[in-house]
Symmetry: C4
Subunit: 218 residues, 4 copies
């Protein structure tokens, strides 16, 4: 079942294009949360008003980098996953559901960061990312189980790397969720550090090489 010809990328190509569309829209809509302060006659001036909005910028930054991480992850997965079935469509759909919720979570945590309800807001926010991480895991486990959705072109070294990485990934998000119970700011800062750590290339990350290339000779 796995020694099929190498030209069958088509189906995941469509899933990837649709998911990329959703991710491009979500990452752009994030910035719509940055509101222009309404001019006030005797107000504190624009500069102060802009600085006063710092929770909005912080939440925006965290979410922006997380969506970037999600995009990179999604592509890494679909470099290995090359076949498609109806279960994959459903799992990817649930993944997209959590992704479209990110702007809502971002606005929520920005609005309530300095209020008494900050913990609820931060738990909803980090909860979205936690469920997202779980769904990434579920999708990968489903696709990689007995190489179900791989084909002859799948780089098994990359697949092994993803499996290793995903075995402890959700733990990071559990920490964010627990931190949210104590301080929304702490939760955001941890999440920012996490997203930047994920997005910055490190030695253990294999390059996202175009398929067909031989990673050994790079």
């Amino acid at each position: 079942m796995n020694n099929r010809p190498a030209d069958e990328k088509k189906e995941t190509g469509r899933i990837e294009a649709f998911s990329d569309g959703v991710l491009a829209i979500v990452i752009t809509l994030l910035a719509l949360e940055l509101k222009v302060p309404t001019p006030e006659g005797n107000g504190p001036g624009l500069l102060q008003a802009l600085i006063h909005q710092w929770p909005v910028y912080l939440a925006f930054l965290v979410s922006f980098f997380f969506i970037l991480v999600i995009w990179i992850n999604h592509h890494r997965l679909f470099t290995a996953i090359r076949r498609s079935d109806n279960n994959l469509l459903l799992l990817n759909g649930l993944l997209l559901l959590t992704i479209t919720l990110i702007p809502f979570g971002t606005a929520l945590v920005a609005e309530y960061l300095q209020s008494a309800d900050q913990n609820v807001a931060a738990m909803v926010y980090s909860g979205i990312f936690f469920v997202n991480a779980l769904l990434f895991n579920a999708l990968w486990r489903y696709a990689s189980y007995k190489d179900r959705l791989f084909d002859a072109n799948t780089d098994l070294r990359l697949a092994a790397f993803i499996t290793r990485q995903y075995s402890f990934g959700p733990l990071f998000y559990v920490v964010a969720f627990v931190l949210a119970m104590f301080s929304a700011l702490l939760c955001l800062l941890w999440s920012l550090a996490l997203a930047i750590f994920f997005v910055i290339p490190n030695r253990t990350t294999p390059e996202l090489v175009p398929e067909g290339d031989n990673p050994e000779v790079l």
Copy 2:
């Protein structure tokens, strides 16, 4: 007329990409209806305010899964439809019209779910999906009539499956519309069940296999 070379996918490729774009935007805009509750001094607290918004979440979920179903359906159709003409452009345009109306219908039913006007809202909402289903039928009938827009690569077993499935599909939406006259909540729950039933793979659903593959040997 039907024994043409196999490299003529181009025209429906453009229709599919445009439709996918609209679907990706619509599914993402849905989540913009999830509003952040405005903080209140002596209010009931954020958690209660969020729980109070449950009609918005329910309507969001129903619409999200329906758009997923529409996306899967649209691709299944265009796996079989491989040629294009001006009538197809028009029919697909009308289909897109009903799709862009979904966020409006969703917001409407969420806003009025618990008011006296719930039936009007739910009838508009389920009416959009009913007309959408009718247009899917019209598009399919037009394209499949005497294999009009098929070509040599069209999987006729898939085409027969779609024809069978579409012969009773709109009935489900009539039921939703009738339920809307009695209770908006019942209409939403029925629609949710319907969408989940459609989206969850079942034995009778052929896999969306990449074209050129032979389904028999799967």
Copy 3:
């Protein structure tokens, strides 16, 4: 200069994809103008409130069909135009500018359709489409002048059809603009008729056949 190899579609492919993206977003954003009526205690009821919004629906419909017409036109042009240069990028950019203004024009005419300022609103609205038609003409004249941006694969019969069609096209929009001075409703109805006339296939319209096909044998 024109007998170049047939594999040089790449550059217009990028222009087309970008333009399609803008068109898909604009056609979807249109529906965001359909606002949910705010529930009123002693108000006229939802059904009446929805019916009362008819100018919004009418303007939405007109603009929706026009964007569909623009999409079909844009693709027809770029079936013939197969090479690219910096002037084409600029002309297409100006075309996109008028396209992104359509939601604004639509909201304007819907808001003022029944007020004393209806003529100004309708003139702005039809003015956007008039400038759009002029830019379509300019782009086509630039590209088709001495077959500047054609190549060996360009269907010259299609090119001749477009030139013929575009020679009188803007006139229709002048009529819409003149009607706007008298009645915004008349202007909208004329525009709707125009858009539907353009979008409905007719005998003189060549099919949008995939390139490489020979239209004579269809």
Copy 4:
């Protein structure tokens, strides 16, 4: 390392498609800042109200042309850059971050153009474009350093042109930033002139020719 086969465009293809998606959405969202004036009983009339909004139109125009320039630049860069690595993903992500901020900056400068806070608004606005230009530089320097992300198909004449152009490019944005300290209007007019100068083809700009073509014979 550089004499690899010519079919490895895939990875930057994905970056380009994602970036194009973001750019298409941002350029379309810009026009959402054009608000329909609310009808007033004894107000100055729609025409006056529309004319009164001129700062919004001016800021819209400047930003629209700048995004067009960014799109053209991005493609020119990725005509030369043909390989990808994780650093490129990060640099391109930061570039996209500044791009998604443009609608916010545009709304800010339009709102405050005629107020005492105009300088702060214009400095934020031109600051976004300055950081964007710096990131374009950083991305190009990273990719072109020792031909790191080029391959055998990279047009080295185009690469040399870009390096020359980028060596003084950010200076123009410094001027805009300095002008912003004195007058927001002056800053906007300079930026408009800059964007139009960039977007209008000139003798020194090589055509964006499809790869594989020989620019000499054009």
